[in-house]
Subunit: 550 residues, 2 copies
């Protein structure tokens, strides 16, 4: 084989996946997956066996190295592609997934003196034990009207960088002191590959409150939060933040030996798994919403300027594609709700309950069931940012059938997305078309048509089933650059390497009209239960807590 | 056997049941059931095969005679009791179940010239084709502020006597003209047994708008409704209405031959199946709520005076026990909701889904699920009188379990009952204790405890599993009178013949407190969705109608 190739490595929650992609045309020639040996560490610490508290979720950074060692030689060998023709490597990661390291990048958890302290390990994105810290950050930022707060929908998550860093300081000051750096795993793996510490603008912007012009939160805010945090940025972070697609450096001799690639092969700066998928859906500019649909739903869109919209998870300049403001929003449960229904409420068992329900539900017309649901089975992320909200279904009669409930749940998630689209567009962030990727749309054509009918937008599905890895490979081609056979920018890479499935899901005019009426009812209930008029959902949770605490 | 006995005959929807009861102690010595040959006629007319329209439900009056012929000899033969020792016969019927007859009581449908017209047959209680007539009655009565309207919760049902009679006049004027009488089946069967036309105060009061002092609706109202109806009462009804427990007459020779009983045996005036069960639950005076719990729930209580309470189905002087005002209210689906859930939403099949759900649900504490439901799967009869309302459930999360939903549905029906109790008591109709009968409480101890905890009232269950038939037998003993070995009144009969199961369901103080909080949330949603603040349920039904009409 004589063409040029790139490798994308996608670090997920349970495993890492490498894909080898041909630069001309974007064909995915080979892929390999390696499951982390220590997986998600949420029970006992490896080695010491130390018991973890609830809400903790850690990882072992050596598992990330093992992914490189296992998957890159595998895709080379599967494909028969010569390392000489692999011009770049790109990576993406879950975020915020962060760890404390020494000045040379050595993770503290790999050093015997720290290995028995949970705070020395990688805090995975879903580590939720820093909620008190997040609450304090939110309270102080709101009180001081910090300018950055509105860029994150008025509230930051316990999953983010600052609460996690502060939790280390509060609970393990010795670990905090021993750490020369606190770093996103996305940037740490690039450091390992290249020997260069290069922080990426996506992780920094969406998870660490970094802003292209304003930088990180100001000293006086951090001091007011905790005097020991005043110089957090200077002491534990590295000042420079690099745009996506930039070459971080060349592959080190050690990493060349580990992976079988050539020393000096271009390595791209890191990226976040959701955001890197956007150009892999062919999207590199404004007006096009990308939805990553799986157990939850992540919405990403770009705009020409910085605007505030209710319930966005973040707006970051250069956060998705350099030159644009990247907006992110989300629904905290989508596929999870359908799975809940099939497991708990479908009156039959067997091979494919989903397929049986979809078959029956797809024969229903919009509005025919008389049902309406609020899709809050796991709270509401956008636009209400309220984890205390719960799911509701209304319109049940003695003749209500399971497939009617199933369809109403799908419709509710589409209404939730439409509410987010409405918030974006009402704030001047334009959305003309929708592009989807992830596991759900591949399997569920009815869901696609319902989303098209509810949102009134044409929907397309990404051709690739592994858009994050493909996106990382595309960024690698940009990092390598045209002189090496790559691309000048991500737009060119998308034109050359990303594609869509042929099928278009076009809104049906009649369905759209009925869904318009149903969405008006959804909005009214959304506001009634979600904006404080009747906080019954929160009060039921309080009653529940009181009962279960007895 | 030497004691004295009475026979009660309970005419249900599908069959008639006779019970032979010993007067001293109320032991149910023998019982027999006969299913109507023509059952519920809702498809084609017997004989002519004429197709019926939707919402029609008819019966064949000869099936009622067949019940007497089959069941009374059977209980005599089973028990070995001599007809000489059977001192009375009592009957009760579904209502309003009515038919057109000649002056001698001959049903028009038994005459060849009328048999092919559906309007010549018995209109069963659940014949719902007179809705346009009911709507017109309600509209005119409301406009004219008819004094009787508030005694029926502001709205009469299409099931009642006046809409059914008017439908005959509108659609089959020749049948209406040929009918010398329009009569409740409850009174027709007594006429057949005794040769005497004796209308009972319960059917007349609850179903035909009769009032002890004011009589039937006035001429000018009926004339305004339809000039042809002005003299409905004089032309088609019989002026006199008799209190419950009165002797209608003695068994005719023909009926003595048919049943094997003695000619002249006392026969009681008719009664309604729900109301006759009240004294069979030992209740013969105010302060005690009787609930007949099955697919739906009927609430009955007595008071010393006539008061108006929201959502009552009717208040009738002497309507349950002579000397008191009888109040009726209802929930249009209770057992039906639980059956719906097990059939449509329980994620397992097999012998006893109810038992499996109850076992798991009974281990939950009140408030533990975080769920709250509105029990409107078949609309709301009391207190909102609105068939357009639909069921709702709220508080769902990804960890919600089927048994939690099941329990929430039971709790919702208990909240619905509590709302009715609150309406009664706030209007001066006192309720101290609750007595239940019907199919549901026998099987479901958790349900009983939940109702006790929610209502804060001690609950007892009737000892008899066939309270309507027992109640009819008790009334027969009253009709026979003390001189024949019977009782002087229904209170004496209840003291002598009715009893309760030993078990008492006593409200738990802790549970009561939590249910108080949950009921406050239920009431708020009840009013929000039920009193016009958000008519989303009605609008969803309209959207549904528009879609299915296409």
């Amino acid at each position: 084989m004589s063409g040029k190739y790139v490798i994308g490595v996608d670090y997920g929650t349970e495993s890492g996946r490498a894909v080898l992609v041909e630069i001309a045309g974007g064909r995915e020639v080979a892929s390999a997956v390696w499951s982390y040996g220590d997986g998600v560490i949420d029970d006992r610490l490896p080695g010491s066996g130390r018991l973890l508290e609830p809400d903790w979720a850690l990882q072992n950074p050596l598992d990330y190295i093992e992914v490189l060692k296992r998957t890159i030689p595998a895709v080379l060998s599967q494909s028969g592609v010569s390392p000489d023709n692999v011009i770049g490597v790109g990576t993406d990661f879950t975020a915020c997934t962060m760890l404390p390291v020494k000045a040379d990048g050595t993770p503290l958890c790999t050093l015997p003196e720290y290995a028995a302290d949970p705070h020395a390990w990688v805090k995975l994105w879903k580590h939720h034990a820093a909620q008190p810290e997040a609450d304090a950050v939110n309270a102080l930022a709101a009180q001081r009207r910090e300018p950055w707060l509105s860029r994150y929908g008025g509230r930051i998550s316990s999953e983010w960088f600052l609460p996690k860093a502060w939790q280390i300081l509060n609970e393990a000051p010795d670990i905090y002191a021993a750490a020369d750096r606190l770093i996103e795993a996305a940037d740490w793996i690039v450091w390992q590959l290249t020997g260069q510490e290069r922080r990426n603008s996506c992780s920094a912007g969406y998870k660490a409150l970094w802003h292209k012009r304003d930088g990180y939160p100001a000293h006086d805010f951090l001091r007011a939060l905790d005097p020991r945090l005043e110089f957090l940025v200077e002491e534990k972070l590295c000042g420079d933040v690099y745009p996506l697609g930039v070459r971080a450096g060349g592959l080190t001799p050690a990493m060349a030996a580990l992976t079988g690639l050539r020393e000096g092969t271009a390595v791209c700066v890191g990226n976040v798994d959701a955001h890197v998928a956007v150009p892999a859906c062919t999207v590199t500019g404004p007006g096009k919403l990308v939805m990553i649909m799986g157990t939850s739903l992540c919405h990403m869109v770009m705009g020409h300027d910085e605007r505030m919209a209710e319930g966005i998870c973040g707006v970051v300049e250069d956060g998705i594609v350099p030159g644009y403001f990247g907006y992110e929003a989300g629904q905290s449960a989508v596929g999870d709700i359908f799975a809940w229904f099939t497991e708990n409420c479908a009156p039959y068992r067997g091979q494919d309950v989903h397929a049986r329900l979809e078959e029956a539900a797809s024969r229903l017309k919009p509005g025919q069931s008389g049902l309406l649901a609020l899709d809050w089975w796991n709270g509401n992320r956008s636009v209400l940012v309220n984890a205390d909200l719960t799911g509701m279904i209304l319109g049940c009669t003695l003749s209500t059938r399971p497939e009617e409930i199933y369809r109403a749940l799908i419709e509710a998630t589409a209404f939730g997305t439409n509410k987010i689209i409405k918030s974006f567009t009402e704030n001047g962030i334009n959305i003309d078309e929708i592009f989807v990727c992830g596991g759900l749309p591949q399997k569920n054509r009815m869901l696609m048509q319902i989303f098209a009918d509810v949102t009134g937008r044409e929907m397309r599905i990404a051709a690739s089933a592994q858009t994050p890895a493909l996106g990382s490979a595309m960024h690698a081609a940009v990092a390598a650059g045209p002189e090496k056979g790559g691309y000048a920018g991500i737009a060119e890479a998308a034109a050359g390497m990303a594609s869509l499935k042929a099928e278009r899901f076009v809104p049906d005019k009649g369905n759209r009209e009925i869904y318009g009426k149903l969405f008006a009812e959804y909005e009214r209930l959304h506001d009634y239960f979600g904006r404080g008029e009747n906080d019954v959902m929160k009060r039921l949770k309080e009653i529940r807590l009181g009962v279960t605490a007895d």
